[in-house]
C-alpha cells in the first residue's frame, strides 16, 4: 500500500495557530502556461479571506494547491501550521474543502452522505448520527434527508456540500466560488451560512468573482489577476486605491455636451458616451453645491447619477485589459471605463 497514511492525530494543533494559511512564492504552471506566478498570502486564524479574480485568474488552482489536491511547483506553503509538501495528511486533518463542483454522492441520500463523512472522520456510530442530524437541521435539509442527493436543487446541493465539509469540525475551510450558479436567495442564504461559520472561530478562505460577495464577507481581500496578486487589503483599503467618487452628467445632445464640457474644465470627459464626470464624495452638501453651480452656469444634464467608489472600480482598475498602466497612473484620472467593461457594470446601489 502507498505510504500516504496519516501518521498524526486528527486534532493536532499547528505550530503557529495564529496563522491559518501562509504562502510564499507559490508557483504553478501547466506546460508553458503559468497559472500562479509567485503568490504570497498570509491569513490570520479566525478571519475570512477572499481571493477575488476574473475567470481563469488562477483562483481555483490556488485552492486546489492549498487544500492538498494538487502540488505546487514552488513555494513555501503552510496550512494550519503544517507544511504542505512534507505533511499533507496533517493539513488534510485540519481543513475542510468545498470545491466549485458539487462534491456530494448523488446516488445516495443526503443523510447517507453525511454518515459517509462521519465514518471517514472515524466518529463513532452514535456521534456520527448526532453530528449528521445536527448539521442537516442547521442547513435546513431535514425534509430532504432521505432523498437521493441527485434530486436536490443547486442550492440544496451546495448546502449539503458545506454540511459535509463541516462534519469533521475543520478549523480552516476552503470555499471555491461558493455562490456561483446560485439564485439570489440561495446566495444570501449562503452568505448567512458563511457568516455563521466565522462566528464559530474557523478561518475561511473563499474565492469569488463577485465583488459584492468579497465586500460583504471578507476581512481581507486579495485581487488575483493573471497569476499574480494585483492588490491586497481590506475592502476599504482597496477602495482607496482608486480615486474617489464622482457625479456623472449624461447628455443626449452632442452640442450641449460640448458646451458643458467647455465650461466644466475639471470634469473628466467621456466623449463616446457624451458624459462628464465631476469628482465628488457623494455627500449631500457637495451634491447641492454641484447642482447650484450647474444651474449658475446654465448647464442642464439629461441624466445625473452619483457614483461612490466600490470594489468594482478596484477590480476593473486592477484586472482590466490595460490594468498595468491604469494602476500605475491611477492617481491622475478616475479609472472607470464603462465602455470597455464587458459585464457586471453597475452604479453603486448600496
Amino acid at each position: 500500500m502507498p505510504s500516504s497514511v496519516m501518521p498524526t492525530s486528527k486534532t493536532g494543533t499547528g505550530l503557529a495557530p495564529s496563522t491559518a494559511v501562509s504562502a510564499v512564492g507559490l508557483r504553478k504552471s501547466y506546460g508553458d502556461k503559468t497559472v500562479l506566478d509567485g503568490i504570497d498570502l498570509h491569513i490570520p486564524a479566525g478571519t475570512v479571506f477572499a481571493l477575488l479574480g476574473p475567470n481563469g485568474a488562477g483562483k481555483t488552482t490556488a485552492v486546489k494547491i492549498l487544500s492538498t489536491l494538487i502540488t505546487a511547483d514552488a513555494g513555501e506553503l503552510r496550512v494550519g501550521g503544517y507544511d504542505l509538501a512534507t505533511d499533507p495528511q496533517a493539513v488534510r486533518a485540519a481543513i475542510g474543502v468545498t470545491g466549485q463542483f458539487s462534491a456530494v454522492d448523488g446516488l445516495i441520500t443526503g443523510e447517507e452522505n453525511m454518515l459517509l463523512m462521519a465514518d471517514l472522520h472515524h466518529l463513532s456510530r452514535r456521534e456520527g448520527r448526532r453530528v449528521a442530524a445536527e448539521l442537516l437541521e442547521r442547513f435546513d435539509l431535514v425534509e430532504a434527508a432521505k432523498k437521493p442527493a441527485a434530486t436536490y436543487s443547486g442550492g440544496m446541493k451546495r448546502r449539503l456540500d458545506i454540511a459535509m465539509t463541516l462534519v469533521g469540525g475543520p478549523r480552516i475551510i476552503f470555499l471555491d466560488e461558493p455562490t456561483t450558479g446560485l439564485d439570489p436567495r440561495s446566495r444570501h442564504n449562503m452568505w448567512g451560512i458563511i457568516r455563521g461559520l466565522v462566528s464559530t472561530g474557523v478561518t475561511v478562505f473563499l474565492t469569488t468573482q463577485y465583488l459584492e460577495e468579497a465586500d460583504q464577507l471578507a476581512d481581507r481581500i486579495a485581487v488575483l489577476n493573471d497569476g499574480r496578486i494585483a492588490a491586497e487589503g481590506t475592502a476599504d483599503q482597496l477602495k482607496r486605491l482608486v480615486p474617489g467618487g464622482y457625479v456623472r452628467l449624461g447628455f443626449s445632445d452632442p452640442a450641449r455636451y460640448q458646451s458643458a464640457a467647455a465650461v466644466l474644465r475639471e470634469a473628466n470627459r467621456d466623449d463616446a458616451a457624451l458624459a462628464l464626470r465631476v469628482p465628488s464624495d457623494g455627500s449631500q452638501r457637495e451634491l447641492r453645491s454641484i447642482l447650484d453651480w450647474l444651474d449658475s452656469v446654465g448647464i442642464e444634464a439629461d441624466e445625473l447619477t452619483v457614483h461612490t467608489p466600490d470594489l468594482d472600480d478596484v477590480f476593473f482598475a486592477l484586472t482590466g485589459p490595460s490594468a498595468d498602466s491604469a494602476a500605475a497612473g491611477s492617481a491622475a484620472s478616475p479609472i472607470t471605463r464603462p465602455a470597455t467593461v464587458p459585464h457586471q457594470r453597475k452604479e453603486n446601489d448600496r
Partner: protein, 263 residues
C-alpha cells in the same frame, strides 16, 4: 490509529458506499448479467444441436454441451460484471466527491479498494446467479470434491479480482463513463475467442495460440477440470499466473492514475 487499521477502516467505509450503490441501483448490476445469460441460452437452445454434435464428435447430447459451456459462461459473467466497475470508477472520478476524498485525512487508496472489493463481491453474486441459471437448464457437477469446489471458488474470486483491477485501471484512465464502458468491452468479448464455446483445438491453426494463451482459456479449462473432472494440466498454473499478473498490472495502473495530480 495504525496505518493498517486506518486503511482497513476507510476501505470498509468505501466498500459500504459501493455496496449501497449496488443495493440502491440493482438494475445496473443485473443488466450486466443479460449478456452471459443470453449467450448461455442462445448456445444451448438455439445452436445447441450443432454445438453438441461438434463437441462429441457426432454423438454428444445437449446436456454434455451444457456441461462444456457453463464454466466458460461463469467466467464471462465476471468479464461482464467488471464493466460495471469500470463505469462506476469513471463516474466517481468525474465527480467532485473524489476530490473531496483526496482532501481528507483518510487512507488515500481506500476509495479504489472499496471499488475493488465491492466489484469482486458483485462478481461472486453474479456468478452464483448465472450458475443457478446453468443448474436450472441442466448443469450438474456431481463428482467434484469439497476441495475442488473450494478451488473453483478460489479461482473465480482470483479471476474476478484480476479483471476488476484491470477494469478499475480502465475506468481511471477514461475521460467519462461511456469511454470506460467502451474500454472495458474486450473483457466481455475475449471469452468469444476462448475455449468457452468451442474447444481451442477446433480453431484454425494460426489462431489457436491466441485462443489458448489468452487469460480466459486457461481459467476456463481449469474451472472445467475442477467442476467436471477433465484434464487441467498446465492450465491451472497459467491461469493463476495470468490472474496475478493482471492484478499487479491493474493495481499499478489504477493507483498510478489515481495518484496523479487531477487536472
Amino acid at each position: 490509529m495504525s496505518a493498517l487499521a486506518l486503511a482497513v477502516r476507510d476501505s470498509t467505509t468505501m466498500l459500504r458506499r459501493n455496496l449501497l450503490h449496488a443495493r440502491r441501483y440493482p438494475s445496473a448490476t443485473l443488466n450486466l448479467l443479460l449478456t452471459p445469460i443470453m449467450m448461455l441460452l442462445l448456445f444451448v437452445y438455439i445452436f445447441g444441436d450443432v454445438m453438441s454434435a461438434g463437441i462429441g464428435g457426432g454423438g454428444a447430447d445437449r446436456s454434455e454441451y451444457v456441461a462444456y459451456l457453463v464454466p466458460g459462461i461463469l467466467l464471462m459473467t465476471i468479464g461482464s460484471t467488471v464493466i460495471g466497475a469500470a463505469v462506476h470508477v469513471s463516474m466517481d472520478m468525474n465527480e467532485g466527491l473524489v476530490a473531496r476524498f483526496r482532501t481528507m485525512a483518510i487512507h488515500r487508496t481506500s476509495v479504489i479498494i472499496g471499488h475493488v472489493v465491492g466489484s469482486v463481491l458483485q462478481c461472486l453474486a453474479s456468478v452464483v446467479l448465472v450458475g443457478a441459471v446453468g443448474v436450472a437448464i441442466g448443469f450438474r457437477s456431481t463428482d467434484a470434491t469439497v476441495v475442488e469446489w473450494l478451488a473453483a471458488f478460489g479461482l473465480i474470486a482470483l479471476f474476478a479480482l484480476a479483471l476488476t483491477w484491470i477494469a478499475v485501471g480502465m475506468g481511471m484512465s477514461s475521460p467519462n463513463p461511456e469511454a470506460a464502458s467502451n474500454a472495458a468491452m474486450p473483457l466481455i468479448l475475449l471469452p468469444l475467442i476462448s475455449s468457452a464455446f468451442i474447444p481451442a483445438s477446433t480453431m484454425p491453426g494460426w489462431f489457436r495460440p491466441i485462443a489458448e494463451y489468452q487469460p480466459f482459456t486457461p481459467a476456463i479449462e481449469t474451472l472445467r477440470g475442477l467442476l467436471l473432472g477433465s484434464e487441467i494440466g498446465n492450465d491451472g498454473w497459467i491461469a493463476v499466473a495470468w490472474c496475478v499478473a493482471l492484478t499487479a498490472l491493474g493495481y499499478v495502473w489504477a493507483t498510478a492514475r489515481f495518484n496523479r495530480d487531477p487536472a
